[in-house]
Amino acid sequence: MRNTLVGKLVTMLVILTLILALAGCGAGQQDQSQNGTNGKTEKGEDTQDHGEEAKETILKFATYAPLEKGLEPFWTKIKKDYEAQNKHTTIEWVLYPYGELKQQVLVMSAGGNRPDIAYGGRSWLDGFISSGFLAPMNDLFGQDFVNDFYPSVIKDMSDNDGQLYAIPQFISPYVLYYNKELFKAAGLDPDQPPRTYEQALAYAEKLSTLKDKDGNKVYGLGQTTASVPVSGASVLSVMLSFGGGLWDESGHVKVNTPENVEALQFLRKIFEKGYNPEAAKLKDLRNLFAIGRLGMYFDQAWGIGGVFAMNADMKSKVACVGPLATSKTEGLSTLEATILMVFKDTDKEKEAADLIEFIVSDANMEHYVDTVAPMFPARKSQENLDKFVNNPIIKDAVKDANKVKELKKHPEMANVFLDLTSSAQAVTVGNENAEAVLKKLEDSFKTLLK
């Protein structure tokens, strides 16, 4: 009796395994056909449609945005509106989460399966350009369209030879967000925000004497220095503001400069005085800002969306100013942007370019700022659009959005940023000497960036 029972059990298990295996394979094939053979089916359709006037185009659009709750409605509308205007075009999302998208699209493309268009962050551009999958854009768009963008932004979207590879949707320098209520509580005027680093330090001093209602410390001035590339870009902005940077006039790596030393010393100061939470990610700063335990912090314009997701009450309590000035500069920052890239050799570059022009049109830009998050436009013709100049959160900073410095493109840029944030950690939590740290950094960059 027992033996037959066990026998049955085994048979059942074997059958189950087989079914699962089949189901798994089936699912896998389905998936591969979804991802992999699109190109083929399209070509098939093309030949069928041959001779007819319009051909069906499927634009494969690699993006993370429709996966995010806050962004999904906007992009669904874009898809719907665009498909309504262009009857023979279908937009097909290729979706990966933000943190995954760049790597996945690169790997996918390397496997001979590239999308037509991709949406991402500015920091991905170096990797994409060096991969060689992108279509050069200089001839893809009209001259008037390209010339409408801020020149520094276009330079930043181009490779070292000046070939354009991406169109920005929105741009942002690192701006300073501040909590108006905490300003009032500290006896500061919310309509007179700091304009220079020096003023910011004085404001931070006052803000950091505050306590929240449970008696916890309030931080005065947040600047991210965590072990992630974006923190490095933000640290580089501080360096740029103090007149420093990574290269000298003639384009040689030059990091150990008095200007950069001053920038690092600024970081040490806000750490030592307890204004800045140590080695915090931007995410941590947004959380702290959302619960009213951080008075001011540097972030990209859209970062404030993270604050609102946590605490919607903050919408009426925040405002921002553009890059802060120093004795050396009027304020300067690295450029952060959401960018649109077109892939080459897809036979659909023109269609992709058309979709991009649609996305960055006035109406869609205004709709985005209205419904999604504060953003700055990258086009001169858009800086006076109603929704930007009257947005209570960003109106003060809109005209400063082009205070950005373009960076040379290099495939190792992510590592450069990681090293930069490491040096910021070294002078703060590591308590090392700024010159020594920069000297080490310069040596490592000389091999990394050669």
Binding site: L106, V107, S109, G111, S130, F133, G274, E278, D284, V429
Partner: protein, 304 residues
């Protein structure tokens, strides 16, 4: 005909049957483990970057330049040091705490059956979740660990444990210990239960005290269990990846960049698969050396 007579011969039949039974296992392991390892070692000698794949060049022999690069760039030695520090820290503390805990749970303590199963809980928590949980506990401004330390006046300012170069590694080690102590205790406990209680009785009559009992009876009896579990623990911690990747990503200032992180970063962040494979190969060799030495030490001890 021929085949049938071969089968009829019991010995031959057994042999064929034995090989047939092994075949599925050998096939799976060959395809998914042996071939990848061999290929990985091979790739470590080639130029294999994303650009090579994109341009269709594939992998090209590159005259050890991956190895030259990792040995000269100066990331490798710190990574080896961090890996060994982490491993020895976790293994030793784990053995120490596990031993005490298992001896306590083997003694006459109320509700020990219940306790024995409840201490196993952290073991079944997935590693990524373990990492997130401890990140949450260690969070500087609103994490509960900092709050308790502040209340107890051990610290005067909240500390970002995972962001301080000196504290990040121990903090990850705490999370690793938390997840691994239960299994170690379980194994040791099983070992303890094989010790006949008459041994203790006899020794107690001979006038041995608790500590003497521990060193003269418990430890020798546990020798085999300790040897196996410690080796398992060494291997596991030498390989640890998800805890680091989730909790610190290798920072701050590379103070938690282990060989695992270094290899992953090279291969999957910088898309230089050849270089990533080179780090992995060095790592593999180190692991082999450690396991070999470990076994040697134990065998020598046994001979004495």
């Amino acid at each position: 005909m021929d085949f049938k007579t071969v089968l009829k011969n019991k010995k031959n039949g057994d042999r064929i049957f034995a090989i047939l039974l092994m075949l599925p296992a050998l096939t799976i392991i060959t395809i998914f483990i042996f071939i990848p390892i061999a290929k990985s070692v091979f790739l470590s000698f080639t130029d294999y970057k994303l650009a090579n794949i994109a341009s269709g060049v594939g992998h090209l022999w590159n005259n050890f330049s991956n190895y030259k690069a990792i040995f000269t760039e100066g990331d490798l030695w710190p990574a080896i040091r961090v890996t060994f520090t982490f491993m020895s820290m976790v293994v030793m503390l784990q053995l120490f705490l596990g031993l005490i805990l298992s001896v306590v749970l083997n003694g006459s303590i109320k509700g020990k059956r219940f306790l024995r199963s409840i201490i196993m809980l952290p073991w079944v928590i997935p590693t990524v979740i373990t990492a997130l949980l401890w990140m949450w506990l260690f969070q500087p401004q609103y994490g509960v660990v900092n709050y308790l330390l502040l209340e107890a006046n051990i610290i005067s300012q909240p500390i970002a444990m995972l962001a301080r170069p000196a504290l990040a590694l121990p903090s990850v080690a705490i999370a690793a210990l938390w997840k691994q102590i239960p299994l170690m205790t379980l194994m040791l406990l099983a070992g303890l239960q094989t010790i006949p209680s008459e041994m203790y009785e006899a020794a107690t009559i001979d006038g041995c005290n608790g500590i003497q009992l521990f060193f003269h009876i418990t430890i020798p009896f546990l020798r085999n269990v300790i040897r196996t579990t410690v080796l398992m623990s060494i291997i596991e911690n030498f390989k640890q990846f998800p805890l680091f990747w989730t909790m610190t990503g290798g920072g701050p200032m590379n103070s938690t960049t282990t060989l695992a992180i270094l290899s992953y970063r090279n291969a999957f962040v910088n898309m230089n698969f050849g270089k990533g494979a080179a780090v992995a190969t060095v790592w593999l060799c180190l692991l082999l050396v450690v396991a070999f030495v470990y076994n040697k030490v134990f065998t020598v001890n046994e001979m004495e």
